[in-house]
């Protein structure tokens, strides 16, 4: 155990985590030239394109240092707030963390919150200033920031370039000398923490774990502590570039287990693996059943594709346990699914994957958070869809989820960032100067307020400077109303939103204005109304189309005319019919496009 080092890399997107990981693999000769391809850890295309790691993986390296061969387990962490629980489990599996900061960018909010998480788990932090080869590198400034933040010594900070390889040896040395080896008793009852899982179409679910105590052997009968289900350990092993089967994995080490599980929801990140025969007394602390926080309706663009959409979601769920879906129908959009996501990025990823991997074109309705409705009869109902809200007379109160948002920004934008957050019903909890021109703000705010356009706004008012991280905080009572949209008197269920009463008027008016832009003129006037209950609070009209003809059809060129009209028809086909009104699909996302 003394020769094992478990560590992760904490870095803001683009600060060089993947590049550094590649370098480590190379320096430890884990990656032969033949196998070498860029950024091994980000294996999905989508991740690569978005520059983010969606699912964490782990990889083991051997490193000969001063005559001893050390086993280094690099546990990769997903790079986005939506997956913060998985990050926390990965961190809980490590004894050390490399804090990578881009020398030209400095510390960002996400780095900080993951750093706090790592410090909270007593991880040894090795600060690294990366990209020192760049002209724009401000190595000394960034070192100042790190010293301020960690209270470490300046000498402890390693200056490196993941690109050129400068400093990588020093990093490896620090991993061995500064990160403590894991502790644990290989002979105690088995306790292994699941920090991630992936789906493989041949082998089923592969769970990644770190053994805290005990030894897991091939063929053991194991039990997952929190789900209480039992399995055969068909195969256990370690992760190099490929999976390497082993007879056993002992305390302190990291490995994988294959046990014929087909359903990703049986393998919960944070769960503890133990033996059936000799179980541990308690699971490893910190288990949470992560629940989706953001919900939206997903509808096939072509109504006929409903069953295909179901099949695609089923397949997606195999390796994305945090995705939930249940059938739902909408008068406007037909049959579809109410899907639950960890957050907005997660929603975007699912949409993208549906499109790329399954060729499914979907309409996504305006996302909303999950509300707890307390009825006058004393029941609590979770509402995932505004149209499911009980009648106002039956509602005692509604509670909405809140978040703790950490925002790092600079002096110039401080005022407007605070104003934005307060406009979004945020309550300022803390304000800390990280350096003279870097301020960390902590707000408690409703999750629903960041679901729409918060992040984009934050970026634009701070000229791209501000960064955001958030965690679910709790619940608070909210004065919410349901705002409905009517087209020529017909309610469009897919456009209903739950919104704070004070914001409803302004929101309704902007919604009507935006819809007016998005709905094309038709052969009759279209009244767009926003209503709370029976009360109309805003109205716009799309005037009837009065001229719609290109008359020339000359010299018998019917083909051209036919093609033009067929194209027009195709456009109409993609629209949804609400009463007699044709509504383009992007109108269902009108809310997201309001400025």
């Amino acid at each position: 155990m003394n020769t094992i080092r478990n560590f992760c890399i904490i870095a803001h997107i683009d600060h060089g985590k993947s590049t550094l990981a590649d370098r480590l693999l190379e320096f430890t000769q884990t990656l032969t030239d033949k196998e070498k391809h860029e950024q091994v850890l980000d294996s999905m295309d989508l991740e690569r394109e978005k520059g983010i790691t969606i699912k964490s993986h782990a990889i083991q390296m051997d490193y000969l240092y001063n005559g001893t061969t050390y086993t280094l387990n690099l546990i990769d962490t997903p790079g986005h707030v939506d997956f913060s629980y998985e990050v926390s489990r990965a961190i809980a599996s490590c004894e050390g963390a490399l804090l990578v900061v881009d020398a030209s960018q400095g510390i960002q909010a996400q780095t900080i919150s993951n750093l706090y998480l790592a410090i909270g788990h007593d991880l040894e932090i090795i600060p690294i200033v990366n990209k020192i080869d760049m002209d724009a590198a401000k190595v000394e400034d960034v070192k100042d920031q790190i010293v301020d933040l960690l209270g470490c010594r300046r000498d402890d900070i390693i200056a490196a370039s993941a690109k050129t390889g400068v400093g990588v040896d020093a990093i490896l040395e620090a991993i061995i000398n500064r990160i403590p080896p894991p502790v644990g008793d290989p002979n105690a009852p088995l306790q292994a923490l699941i920090f991630d899982s992936v789906f493989n179409s041949f082998r089923g679910i592969i769970a990644y774990f770190k053994v805290f105590n005990g030894t897991l052997r091939k063929g053991d009968m194991v039990k997952f502590f929190n789900t209480n289900r039992e399995y055969d350990a068909d195969e256990v092993g370690i992760l190099r570039l490929k999976m390497v089967p082993k007879d056993s994995i002992s305390a302190g080490d990291v490995g994988y287990i294959i046990s014929g599980i087909k359903d990703s929801s049986e393998v919960k990140v944070g769960d503890t693996i133990t033996h059936v025969d000799r179980p541990c007394d308690k699971g490893i602390a910190g288990f949470e059943d992560v629940k989706p926080m953001v919900f939206a309706g997903l509808y096939p663009v072509e109504a006929d594709d409903y069953e295909d959409l179901r099949a695609s979601l089923e397949k997606l769920k195999l390796n994305d346990a945090s995705l939930t879906y249940e059938p739902e129908s909408s008068l406007a959009l037909g049959f579809g699914f109410r899907c639950g996501f960890l957050g907005l990025l997660h929603m975007e990823i699912v949409q993208e994957r549906l499109y790329r991997e399954f060729d499914m074109d979907v309409i996504t309705t305006v996302p909303n958070v999950s509300y707890s409705v307390y009825t006058t009869k004393g029941e609590v109902i979770d509402i995932h869809n505004p149209s499911g809200l009980p009648a106002p007379t039956l509602i005692d109160r509604i509670e909405e989820p809140t978040i703790r948002a950490q925002i790092i920004t600079n002096n110039e934008s401080l005022g407007s960032v605070i104003k934005l957050c307060i406009d979004k019903r945020g309550v300022l909890k803390n304000q800390v100067f990280l350096t003279t021109n870097r301020i960390e703000l902590t707000f408690i705010m409703p999750l629903s307020e960041i679901v729409f356009d918060f992040y984009d706004k934050l970026k634009s008012i701070s000229r791209g400077y501000a960064s955001l991280d958030y965690h679910i905080e709790g619940h608070q009572v909210a004065n919410l109303v349901r705002l409905d949209i009517l087209l020529n008197g017909e309610m469009v269920d897919a456009l209903s939103t739950l919104i704070h009463r004070d914001y409803a008027y302004n929101f309704g008016r902007r919604m009507c204005e935006k819809l007016k832009e998005l709905i094309p003129r038709q052969q009759f006037d279209i009244a767009i109304q926003a209503a709370i209950g029976a009360k109309i609070i805003a109205r716009e009209t799309v005037k009837a189309l009065r001229k719609d003809v290109t008359a020339k059809c000359y010299g018998g060129d019917i083909t051209r005319k036919r093609k033009l009209l067929e194209k027009q028809k195709k456009g109409k086909k993609r629209m949804r019919q609400i009463g007699s009104v044709e509504v383009p699909q992007q109108a269902f996302l009108a809310v997201l496009k309001m400025d």
Partner: protein, 375 residues
């Protein structure tokens, strides 16, 4: 029953709004008639049915050709095909090309219909459009043609013009109806891609008229025309009873036509073809002994859509009984549903057993027709 269209691709000067295929240099003009005869010989088997009911010389500017050369072509056609006893033979002409001698020759060689590219009786309009004639020449041309014996005269007019006004349009129409014409082709100005006028709009130097003005002028056209005994029988065509353009009507009624000359389109009920949009390419093709017209085989869907799109442009409308019989009951049911929607909106009306767009509503017909198309 079939038609023949001959495209004469020459113009003295390109008008600012025009995207018809025509060139300003007269290359090939001397051999043009013979080349047409040659193309005729190459493609004489294209048409599935005879006799020839209509012959139409369009362009470009057919009136740039001498009467002799036109006669050569007409005679060639008469020798190649059987001609119906009462054919409609039309020449498109620019008002300033006409003189008494030319008109007499046209009558002599068999023309019985003239289509004059008047466009406006307002000199300012004409200048903006880049036409080479003036208002006076336009009225004279009509009078002269009528006096010398043409009793089937059509004129083209354009409305919705920028720099103009509804007053000018109204006076254009009133002038037109005082003239001895039997037919009117009127369309709203279209800013076609690549034309000088479209570029001006793009650069913001010309502002298209408001929709309200377009509608006002369209209404004026329809109303004044009916007051003067002109029937609005197709979106942009109006004529006195018995004087509807038989050639153009054939386009709306699935009657085959053979198009000769550069860029000309042909149709034989199962396919459509179009000649190269270049004088040189066309000449080369003929000299090589093969007109490599581009060809499109029509699927059942294409045929139905063409039926819908052409029929709904006219006052004859669509016959859902015919659709049921030819394309099946599902199509007929679908069309019935769309028709009901537009009946309710009072855009469509039933006339005998046919559905048609009310002529007053021709101005919103594109979206309506698109809705009827099948996928």
């Amino acid at each position: 029953m079939s038609g023949i269209y001959i495209h004469v691709p020459y113009c003295k000067r390109k008008c600012h709004y025009c995207d018809f295929f025509s060139v300003e240099d007269a290359r090939g003009m001397n051999e043009f008639a013979n080349l047409i005869l040659e193309e005729l010989r190459l493609r004489k088997d294209y048409l599935p049915t005879e006799p020839i009911e209509t012959v139409y010389f369009g362009g470009g500017t057919p009136s740039l050709l001498t009467a002799d050369r036109i006669a050569t072509m007409l005679n060639g056609i008469a020798k190649t095909f059987s001609i119906s006893p009462l054919p409609e033979i039309t020449l498109e002409a620019n008002p300033d090309d006409l003189n008494p001698g030319y008109i007499r020759s046209l009558l002599d060689i068999g023309f019985n219909r003239l289509s004059l590219g008047v466009q406006s009786f307002d000199d300012n309009d004409l200048q903006q459009l880049g036409r080479r004639h003036n208002a006076k020449q336009a009225t004279n041309a009509v009078d002269m043609a009528s006096q010398l014996g043409f009793n089937n005269i059509s004129i083209d007019l354009i409305y919705g013009l920028p720099y103009s006004s509804t007053n000018v349009w109204e006076s254009n129409l009133r002038k037109a109806f005082r003239l001895p014409i039997q037919h009117l082709s009127c369309y709203h100005i279209i800013y076609e891609e690549g034309t000088p006028l479209q570029r001006k709009v793009f650069m913001g130097r010309v502002t298209p008229v408001d929709e309200a003005v377009s509608v006002e002028q369209f209404d004026l056209l329809h109303d004044l025309a009916s007051q003067n005994g002109f029937i609005h029988y197709e979106i942009s065509n109006l004529g006195k009873e018995g004087y509807f353009s038989r050639h153009n009507t054939a386009y709306w009624k699935q009657i085959p036509y053979l198009g000769l000359g550069p860029s000309a389109h042909s149709y034989n009920k199962t396919s459509r073809a179009w000649n190269p949009r270049s004088v040189d390419a066309w000449i080369n093709a003929i000299k090589k002994g093969s007109i490599e017209a581009e060809n499109e085989l029509l699927s059942e869907k294409d045929i139905l859509n063409e039926y819908l799109l052409t029929s709904l442009r006219t006052i004859w409308g669509i016959d859902n009984g015919y659709i049921a019989g030819t394309f099946g009951i599902d199509q007929a049911n679908r069309i019935e549903r769309v028709a009901n929607k537009y009946m309710q909106l009072e855009i469509l009306e039933k006339c005998d057993s046919n559905y048609r767009i009310k002529p007053k509503k021709f101005i919103v017909s594109d979206g309506v027709i698109a809705d009827f198309l099948t996928e």
